[in-house]
Symmetry: C2
């Protein structure tokens, strides 16, 4: 009844230094999340992968990649529509 966990904990990866996102994910795990999802699009996709790898290899030994999805979003940019790729990397506790 008093279920307060959100269904998914999401960290959006953008143009900041990668360690900002690493820290955001670690904070969510430390606050009790069992699963945290990194989301990014366009050029930030590489940074999301970097963040996932740094978390997995350096900081949280018990955290593994549970799922990776890629997709496409339409972006309205100055009166024309362009497509941008997206990624979702789900990190979870337990191997």
């Amino acid at each position: 009844m008093a279920e307060e966990k959100t269904a998914e904990n999401v960290v959006f990866v953008g143009v900041k230094p990668v360690m900002n996102y690493v820290l955001a994910v670690i904070t969510q795990f430390n606050e009790g999340a069992n699963e945290v999802t990194l989301k990014a699009r366009g050029r930030a996709i590489s940074r999301a992968v970097d963040a996932a790898e740094i978390i997995r290899n350096r900081f949280l030994q018990g955290v593994a990649v549970r799922n990776i999805k890629i997709g496409t979003e339409e972006i309205q940019a100055e009166s024309r529509v362009s497509n941008v790729s997206t990624i979702e990397i789900v990190l979870g506790k337990g191997a």
Copy 2:
């Protein structure tokens, strides 16, 4: 006996325009491959995702993403070792 297919067909994604890699994958499927893997590292990861999405959405309706793996490689760059993230996107025929 006369098995001539290689176990895996791989396209390495680098700094060229994304359509080069799209075309390379389409060629491999048209030559009879059932599975083609896009591999990239560092900033080219975003381009590999773009290529996979363009192939899936625009060119090859029967092709789906079968698996996505991320990893880390050590790169020897001017007398010091640095880590670079990698991605492997496996595309396969059939849903």
